[in-house]
């Protein structure tokens, strides 16, 4: 089975986001005054071959822990779905 794991990496709330602040400033200068805050993260898609959704999820979790997110500054969330064929 093929699975798609979508991983969303975000900066921890306590951490300033210089990219987000720069984009916020740009939006304000474009007159989007309703924008209160901007935070920028990463969206990562992994295509995985696995026996079932659970093992695909386990592997994606391990990959995100080891490489995709840095736990000192980032959090991540993870969603796994079957791709094509029989989506049990």
């Amino acid at each position: 089975m093929q699975y798609k794991a979508e991983i969303k990496v975000t900066l921890k709330e306590s951490i300033l986001d210089p990219q987000g602040s720069a984009v916020k400033k740009a939006l304000h200068s474009m007159s989007y005054r309703n924008v209160l805050d901007v935070r920028i993260g990463k969206h990562i898609e992994l295509m995985l071959s696995a026996d079932d959704a659970e093992s695909a999820g386990r592997e994606a979790q391990e990959i995100a822990d080891k490489l995709l997110a840095n736990p000192v500054i980032e959090n991540f969330s993870l969603e796994v779905q079957a791709v094509g064929g029989d989506a049990r």
């Binding site: 300033l16 210089p18 602040s21 720069a22 490489l67 995709l68 840095n70 000192v72």
Partner: protein, 245 residues
Amino acid sequence: MRFGVVVFPGSNCDADCYRALKSFGVEVRYVWHAEQSLEGYDLIVLPGGFSYGDYLRAGAIARFAPVMSDVVRYAEAGGLVLGICNGFQILLECGLLPGAMLPNVVPRFRCDRVLLRVENASTPFTGLCRSGQVLRMPIAHGWGNYYADDVTLERLERRGQVVFRYADEDGHPTPEANPNGSRNSIAGLVNERGNVLGMMPHPERACEALLGGTDGRWIFASAIQFLSGGVELGQPRVAGDGAIH
């Protein structure tokens, strides 16, 4: 005395480090990132650059290069490791040093000369300096904004692991002297044992008067002095001697 300069795909200060070290008359070899043995080296340099294009996060991919597991073993056995700029980022990513790098607080690449105050002059890399000495070195980075949580910071300060702080000419770590927003103006730090130093400024680019300064020589000369048996590797000096403010 043999020094190794690790070369990752995207390293761009490897030749500068090689040349700087050579000027001290020591043997220097390049260590390719795919190599797996660091036997026979007295000091390993992780040079600056953009290893693996800085993709994902600066240093995130390099830390899984084959040579890195041996760098970790080498450091854990007490070997001297000096990470400069991207090398510092790699040391943070692989956990040999605590904390992480964020983009500079003003989100642009800073290429400049900065002043550093030596906070701890009893590491293998600063043994010839005096505490409070101000050194001038170049910086060139977009991700040099050092972050660690409050607990980690407090521990780093208490144990004297902060080796360099961005400062003004009088050695005061003012906000204006901090080029990237690093917490506590941290420009360089050592691990608890003192044998692994990470620093954002480039000592290898400050080793010849022709290139604008020679203050970087203090770092390499200190390491060589230490390796010649001139300096004991004790615990980093802790607050109380006027080194930490």
